[in-house]
Assembly symmetry: C2
DNA sequence: CAGGATCCCCCGGGATACTG
DNA sequence: CAGTATCCCGGGGGATCCTG
């Protein structure tokens, strides 16, 4: 099984960058897979990626409406993170009232494609997992 | 970055995405992918799954040594969760000193298989993501 | 050896109020 | 409309000590 999970070569950078990584992106120096999971696994990133993949292009308020339960703050934070990783683009139109549109980059789209097999696996195995959980509850 | 309808054909990825995440995934909270991601996305589950996949069978102390940085408590908690979901088995041998061995179930193995494409994607795109982050940091 | 039980800290993330 | 700026709480997870 060729799943690499371990050390990863470090890129040279300014102290500013290292400081930044040591805080916010601490997992990055350990393993790229871990980091990817870390990125898509926070409470909202995956939702944003999937909705953007479906719609192709969306405004802030649209996403706020569509993604049920997300707060304004978390939508902003999530979008900033995804943009920082180059997974989505943010386009501001100089209009009044302001209009901002988000959409997946090609890298973002390719990430979404990797989620499809996982999605299909989840659909196939969800019932068994739920049953397994129930059994353990009844035993405990 | 503009999607011109007609003149330029939709990308293969975009088409697949819209097909896959069409109606049945309309409401995210009913999407089992979310649950799966939630399970493998905690700080250690994926490490455990991958190490077990590589070794086939491991004892508690072995995993504690191999998985760098994991605490005793979190290894225990993680193993319990994975067992509860039916992704790993826990076998206790009536010996002194006690011996406990863990290994992936067939479902656990099949989940690991789904992670491989994701792993490969992560390795392919890690550098670009890092560069993107650095650029954003330098911009301020 | 393989954990249980506790204590405690940090931070992800919700609620709310304000702005260009 | 599309965000910032604060405040605040719950729980994920580390450190430590204890046990069959």
């Amino acid at each position: 099984m060729e799943v690499t999970i371990g050390s990863k070569p470090q890129s040279e950078g300014s102290r500013k960058i290292k400081e930044h990584f040591s805080d916010k992106h601490a997992t990055i120096k350990h393993c790229p897979v871990t980091d990817i999971i870390a990125r898509i696994s926070d409470k909202w990133s995956m939702h944003v990626i999937i909705f953007l993949g479906k719609a192709g292009k969306m405004r802030f308020s649209e996403m706020k409406k569509e993604i049920e339960g997300i707060s304004q703050r978390m939508l902003t934070v999530t979008l900033r993170n995804l943009e920082e990783d180059g997974l989505i683009t943010r386009t501001v139109y100089a209009e009044v009232p302001p209009r901002v549109e988000y959409q997946l980059t090609s890298m973002g789209e390719s990430l979404l494609l990797q989620l499809i097999p996982l999605s299909e696996w989840a659909n196939r195995n969800m019932e068994q997992i739920l049953r397994s959980r129930e059994e353990h509850i009844l035993k405990g």
